[in-house]
């Protein structure tokens, strides 16, 4: 008993050291821009960089499109599979998990060959088309997370009974989907949305290879050319991730509250 | 020297003391039940015998040897848990063999002993099944075989039946008792079900708030409850409040009716309050019924429960439940009807606590 407690503390101590030293190091480094004293100059330099504002804005926009269209794809599909095509569940789940197995760089490589400007569907032939392709690639990347969180939320509310109740009351299916199902799986939708946001905001591979002015490639560019700003950016990125995860916890707690209400 | 002796056992978790000065001597081959409501400390005592919890004070001896500071794996005790606790990654055979394997017994002997155990519980044909493929009753029998396989000195049963269906519960408890008799193994059984404890035990310990209220044979416990708690927890005894009139001849008042007790109350004084117990199956409403004592009251309700009809009668503010056996020509008493319950004065027990 005493021994196991000692080892438990030891494991935690090793873990805390491993996780906090890099964060501390990064933070310390980000304050070193002014010679001889700590300052927030690196942050000031980052925030005043016009390219930072543009790429960050672009990535937020892409993230919002990804969440909106991703959910429009995922929620009805998860609903339909639960309600009408339970025999297809293993297959659909398998497909949603594929992006965890096929590396992103392989997927985007396929896009570039399949949808280039001389193909039948020349997505990459125009800026708009490339942006659409980028959003689609982000939906693909976040598919495992979005599907899972929505499907879990649907399991807890028993969509079948809810749907039958709505049908008996005479509701049409768009009403059922948007008025009954969406609000009840909102906690799952929001969790999926925040994790998608965290993934998309700093994503590098897709944006770099599709040549879009996103935040990820910008980060890489800054890293190759500047000294202190990358650390400031790393701290900012960590804060964004922390915020997204914090919101997920908040949402899931809120979701539990509303569900336990009689 | 008793086989299993618990002396002055105390147990506290932080500030709260859950077991107060518990003493118990168990003879070899005895079947003892710890009976009480949840939180009475019965499981804690069992877990101290097993060695999962160290007692805050007191000693535990088995067969003359001090076990108080030994770890569970040094005690040679068998235990069956409420939730089966079979290892899900092992077949029935491997589960039963587990204790023998960790003791490093030779393969041939393990196989022989496991087969013997499976035969004992009539599950030889399921040796290759995994726990999830079996019913609760079957799993609990395997758990029993697993506990018995290493030939433990003492068998501990921690509410082993409470997760099962009513029918299985009855048949399995009979099977447990039969196997226990056959092997002559000293057994401690923890339960909150009085019927279970009454039907299976040599002796029962009724526990209340960390103390043993009464230790005795099932019929003692049922017929001669020592405290109000035992009376109310075991069976469905009626507790009747009475006032002493004359300690010398034993007369008391129940509401405005006078009754003479057979038991002596010479140590009481006039006007003192007294609690009496009356079993619901004592007495009769029939005019012709035998009995030297009668109480008259108003019927509150009468419920048909299958084999019996339970009537609740208000006698001077005391609600007395009364059971009579069902028969086709039984007339159920109507609410508000005035009835007279006749019984023997010997059925009225004095509760001293």
């Amino acid at each position: 008993m005493k021994m196991s407690k000692f080892f438990a503390w030891l494991a935690i101590a090793v873990g805390v050291t491993y996780f906090f030293v890099p964060l501390l190091g990064t933070f310390e480094f980000s304050l070193r821009m002014r010679r001889g004293e700590y300052s927030l100059d690196a942050y000031g330099s980052v925030f005043s960089d016009i390219q930072f504002q543009q790429t960050f804005g672009f990535s937020i926009l892409m993230a919002l499109f990804t969440i909106a269209f991703g959910m429009l794809l995922v929620v009805p599909t998860a609903y339909w599979v639960r309600l009408r095509l339970p025999q297809m569940r293993p297959f659909v789940e398998f497909v949603t998990l594929m992006p965890l197995v096929i590396p992103a760089i392989v997927i985007v490589f396929g896009y570039l060959r399949l949808y280039n400007s001389s193909s039948y569907i020349p997505f990459t032939g125009s800026v708009l088309g490339t942006n659409i392709l980028l959003v689609m690639s982000y939906i693909t990347l976040s598919l495992p997370y979005m599907y899972r969180s929505v499907d879990t939320a649907m399991r807890t509310i028993d969509v079948r009974t809810l749907t039958e109740a709505a049908e008996i009351l005479g509701a049409k299916w768009p009403t059922i989907l948007f008025k009954c199902i969406f609000p009840n799986v909102m906690s799952g939708v929001l969790s999926g949305a925040f994790i998608t946001f965290a993934i998309v905001i700093g994503e590098f591979t897709m944006a770099a290879l599709l040549n879009r002015p996103a935040f990820g490639p910008y980060l890489q560019l800054v890293g190759a050319n500047k000294a202190y700003e990358p650390s400031a950016l790393a701290i900012i990125a960590f804060a964004i991730t922390w915020l997204s995860m914090g919101l997920i916890q908040l949402v899931s707690r809120f979701g539990k509250l509303t569900q336990s209400r009689p | 020297m008793p086989f299993l002796a618990l002396a002055n056992i105390k147990k506290s978790f932080g500030q709260t003391q859950v077991v107060h000065d518990f003493n118990m001597s168990i003879e070899k081959g005895e079947f003892i039940s710890f009976l009480g409501p949840s939180g009475c400390g019965k499981t804690t005592v069992l877990r101290m015998i097993a060695g999962f919890e160290p007692p805050s004070a007191g000693t535990i001896h088995i067969d003359g040897k001090d076990q108080t500071r030994l770890k569970p794996n040094q005690r040679n005790i068998g235990m069956v848990f409420q939730a089966y606790a079979l290892f899900p990654n092992m077949t029935v055979f491997d589960n039963v063999a587990f204790g023998l394997k960790v003791a490093g017994q030779p393969k041939a002997e393990i196989e022989k002993r496991v087969k013997e155990m499976l035969k004992l519980i009539h599950l030889e044909h399921l040796a290759d099944r995994y726990p999830y493929q079996m019913s609760g009753g079957q799993q609990q029998r395997v758990a029993l075989a697993r506990a018995l396989a290493p030939k433990p000195q003492v068998l501990l049963l921690d509410e082993p039946l409470s997760a099962l269906d009513a029918k299985i519960r009855v048949s399995l408890r009979e099977e447990i008792r039969m196997i226990q008799r056959q092997l002559g193994i000293t057994t401690v059984f923890v339960t909150h079900d009085q019927e279970e404890a009454l039907s299976i035990s040599d002796r029962i310990v009724v526990m209340n708030a960390g103390r043993a209220d009464q230790i005795g044979s099932p019929s003692d416990i049922y017929n001669r409850p020592a405290t109000r708690f035992v009376a109310s927890f075991v069976g469905t005894l009626n507790i009747i409040e009475a006032t002493v009139i004359d300690p010398a001849n034993g007369s008391v008042m129940i509401g405005d009716q006078s009754v003479t007790l057979r038991e002596s109350i010479a140590d009481k004084s006039g006007g003192e309050k007294l609690s009496l117990a009356l079993r619901p199956e004592a007495g009769s409403l029939a005019e012709s019924a035998k009995g030297d004592t009668a109480l008259t009251g108003k019927v509150v309700s009468a419920n048909f429960l299958g084999s019996v009809v339970r009537t609740r009668i208000n006698v001077g503010g005391n609600i007395i439940s009364f059971d009579m056996f069902n028969s086709p020509d039984l007339v159920m008493p109507a609410p508000d009807e005035i009835v007279t319950l006749r019984f023997s004065a010997g059925d009225l027990l004095i509760i001293r606590d």
């Binding site: 008993m1 196991s4 438990a8 494991a11 935690i12 090793v14 873990g15 491993y18 030293v21 890099p22 501390l24 190091g25 310390e28 480094f29 794809l73 009805p76 599909t77 095509l85 594929m98 992006p99 197995v101 590396p103 992103a104 760089i105 392989v106 997927i107 490589f109 396929g110 896009y111 060959r113 939906i139 693909t140 965290a198 700093g202 590098f204 990820g216 980060l219 890489q220 890293g223 990125a237 991730t241 922390w242 995860m245 997920i248 | 060695g51 999962f52 794996n73 848990f81 939730a83 290892f87 899900p88 990654n89 092992m90 587990f98 204790g99 960790v102 003791a103 995994y130 697993r146 290493p150």
Partner: protein, 290 residues
Amino acid sequence: MSTASPLIDRRTIIDWLGIAPFMIFALMFLIVPTLYLVTGAFFTPDGKLTLQNIADLFTPTIMSAYWISIKVSLASSIGGALIGFALAWAIVLGGLPSWIRNGLLTFSGVASNFAGVPLAFAFIATLGRTGLVTVFLRDWFGFNLYSTGFNLLSFFGLTITYMFFQIPLMVLILTPALDGLKKEWREASEILGASTWQYWRMVGLPILWPSLLGTSLLLFANAFGAIATAYALTGASLNIVPILLYAQIRGDVLHNPNLGYALALGMIVITGLSNILYIWLRMRAERWQK
């Protein structure tokens, strides 16, 4: 009544139409692009069937890229699995105060998603040539980390960086699995005479095996396909498969587009194999589950 069977057909069609958008999406943006590369690996640029691209993978540069990638992925997933297991064990069974458990789980949720370029920055600021730890060791202990042959831009540096998201992922998946180990199993084995070690060997680890193994293989695939961290950390200086493929997509450094397809095919085969291995081992380990 006579219209019954066409009605059923219509309903079936509607049922299938319900997941048509998803199917079209999956085909267009996941399945067809992947298959395109896979088939492309077996053709010459002018459309003739060939195995030459596959054969060309077995040149020293490409082989060493695969080898380093596999080594980094293996090391970071095994290291992540071991340390992650130790941490999950500590918070579930180590008898620590509950705020440590909550804190670690929240942090793991964040850290498992903290990857890519910023993660590389963090490790450069820590273990780079002017990083906090490097400077600290030099100034206080007179110890020059880089004179020992350590280099953040190497196999070891990349492994230690990847573990930053590998460990938390393991913690997140293993904690519920460890919670699922019932206290009674531990007690039953104890009272039957088993030591702590015997309990873990015969009961605890066999029960955890599927999740432990599954997560390790997920971590492997995770590290194998990762590019952003490595690219930001090392530029193009470290020869791993994703970076080689990145360079190939960017500028056809292999001077054969179809060899690029073969390179991608190799990645899919390796992550695919690790998943098949996982499914096979899981089925073996789960004979006792429903």
